[in-house]
């Protein structure tokens, strides 16, 4: 008999649980991220031998998360000034092997839906306090709650027919899908004597962009020369509900979205479609 084959252990999805602060998020599809150390080679006149690396620039991590919109949209409130922590842990009682970030700030939020799919949310964030392995000693406050145990939550699942959209004269059944994105660039402010910013501000204005694909029937496209004096402005209300009870999972409402682009699409194997792009910019009150 030969030697037994040693199978290396692997970490699979059942052991990758994502927590937003202390709350486990259901429906996470992917979590990607990490950090790059901001080093530059220290090169100088007369240098010889080993080149040393000098820290130049801010230390930060970047993360992207994709999730199905289930139960609740905890991400949309984070498009404001609120920071958050995120952890991927293997087990609630094994938090010493946690990969994640602290003092994260959301930089982009995209909610997407196409007929036949569950609505999804994709976010991107930057983290200013720490990124990478986070041991229990780093942040006992969140981990104290995470390790308390399971709280069985009833999942609220949206269905294909449970998205309602009101874009003034458009009717829901003509819209085939949407992408709603909110871009909120961040401006971290650093002081001398610290690696961590003392404040993180939103780089206003926040850009909100809505893309729709509609089946054409009596829709009348515009012409590029209609702008800027005949600008099309719409108010949007979009609601995602559960498939069974019609309970509201999340609602988006934006006013004064301006039409920025129309793309006409005629092909041999499908009906004529129009891709519409609306955009608005938001400042704080």
């Amino acid at each position: 008999m030969g030697n037994p084959v040693v199978i290396p252990t692997r970490i699979t999805k059942e052991n990758q649980r994502f927590f937003l602060n202390t709350t486990e998020i259901p429906g996470i599809q992917s979590f990607r991220g990490g950090y790059n150390v901001p080093y530059q080679p220290m090169v100088y006149l007369g240098e010889s031998g080993q080149v040393n690396m000098l820290p130049v620039g801010a230390q930060a991590g970047s993360f992207s998360i994709s999730t199905a919109l289930i139960s609740n949209d905890l991400w949309i409130p984070l498009t404001g000034n609120t920071g958050f922590n995120g952890y991927v842990i293997q087990r609630r009682n094994d938090i010493d092997n946690t990969f994640g970030f602290q003092s994260g700030y959301l930089t982009s939020y995209t909610s997407s839906y196409k007929i036949g799919q569950i609505p999804t949310i994709e976010i991107e964030a930057v983290a200013f306090k720490s990124a990478g392995r986070i041991s229990a000693a780093n942040y006992a406050e969140d981990f104290d709650v995470i390790t308390l145990g399971e709280t069985a939550a009833l999942l609220k699942i949206p269905g294909p027919g449970s998205v309602t959209l009101n874009l003034d004269e458009f009717t829901t059944n003509r819209v085939l899908g949407y992408d709603l994105s909110i871009l909120c660039a961040r401006n971290p402010m650093y002081q001398l004597g610290s690696r961590i910013p003392w404040a993180v501000e939103i780089n206003y204005p926040i850009e909100v962009q809505c893309n729709f694909q509609i089946d054409l029937s009596d829709y009348q496209p515009k012409n590029v020369t209609d702008f800027p004096f005949s600008t099309v402005t719409k108010n949007l209300t979009l609601t995602v509900k559960t498939f069974d009870t019609d309970a509201v999972i999340t609602t988006y409402a934006f006013n004064n979205l301006k039409l920025e682009s129309e793309q006409y699409e005629a092909t041999v194997d499908n009906s004529v479609k129009m891709n519409l792009q609306y955009k608005t910019f938001m400042m704080p009150e």
Binding site: Y44, L45, G46, N52, M53, L54, V56, M189
Partner: protein, 292 residues
């Protein structure tokens, strides 16, 4: 046909030193100006000769990263500030790639910006001819030996742990942590020198230090106006008197004996400026000055 390798002195063979101490220079320039003007006279269409219009003047400009245990210009400035009443000053030997100038410090500046290593620039002036030749690595840097490997060690003996950095910059009041915070700091020292000539000699017999001035510039996010003429910087900047540059090694240890202090005591607030621009926070720039 291959391009043949030329014999050139590349930057890694170009040592830069100040009084025998190697510095981490990112750039260095040495320029000599021979001041003259054409001499015109009646009766001649062109100049009849050239007339000397000033002394031979060599300027050396250095830009470099600061090492707290190895910062010669900081101590040159300290020497000038502490002994400014004396009449005769020694020159400092500045070398670039084997060419040496015997110089006086004309200006020195230090800049610390968030998340960046501290950087300095120094400008020297000389009134006598340079010596040496551009020959590449000089054996005089750091060692009397002609070994190139030995001479190179002097430059960066502590690797990056010796570098001054914004992360390890402290603000102090009476040697304790100050309550105020700054977004940016830069310091400059300027010295005025006057060469004294006597008839019959090509070069000055004496170069006199006339005066000097220090300028401290701070950026912060809180505004307060200047209350009265001659307001002291210490009280204006909210009980703060010293910017201390520590080496990066302070991140790993609480003990750090290599420090560079920039003390604003005795300086006067010269100007305060509010600066607002789209996409950024409103910043307040304060400038304080001390004369010597």
């Amino acid at each position: 046909m291959l391009v043949r390798k030329k014999v050139v002195i590349y930057f890694n063979k170009c040592d830069v030193f100040i009084n025998g101490t190697g510095i981490l220079a990112s750039s260095a320039t040495l320029s000599t100006e021979n001041a003259y003007s054409p001499l015109y006279a009646l009766g001649a269409r062109g100049p009849v000769s050239t007339a000397f219009a000033g002394p031979l003047r060599t300027t050396i400009q250095l830009n470099y990263l600061i090492e707290t245990h190895n910062e010669p210009v900081y101590y040159i400035v300290s020497g000038l500030k502490n002994n400014y009443s004396q009449l005769n000053y020694d020159t400092f030997k500045i070398g670039i790639g084997g060419v040496t100038g015997y110089c006086f410090l004309e200006s020195y500046s230090v800049k610390v910006s968030p998340n960046e290593p501290a950087r300095a620039s120094a400008s020297f002036v000389s009134f006598v001819p340079t010596t040496g030749a551009l020959v590449g690595r000089s054996p005089s840097v750091g060692s009397s030996s002609s070994s190139t490997s030995t001479s190179a060690k002097k430059y960066n003996s502590r690797q990056t742990s010796g570098n001054a950095h914004a992360w390890t910059t402290e603000l102090l009041f009476q040697n304790s942590a100050a309550s105020t915070k700054f977004l940016d700091f830069d310091y400059s020292f300027k010295a005025n020198w006057e060469p004294r000539f006597i008839i019959g000699q090509k070069f000055p017999t004496q170069v006199q230090f006339l005066n000097g001035s220090e300028t401290f510039n701070f950026t912060r996010e809180v505004y307060s106006g200047i209350s009265f003429t001659g307001m002291r910087a210490v009280s204006y900047l909210n009980d703060f008197d010293t910017v201390r540059l520590n080496s990066l090694s302070l991140l790993n240890t609480t003990q750090n004996n290599d420090i560079l202090d920039f003390c604003i005591s005795g300086s006067i607030v010269k100007s305060v400026e509010i600066s607002a621009s789209v996409g950024d926070m409103v910043q307040i720039n304060s400038s304080c000055e001390k004369s010597h």
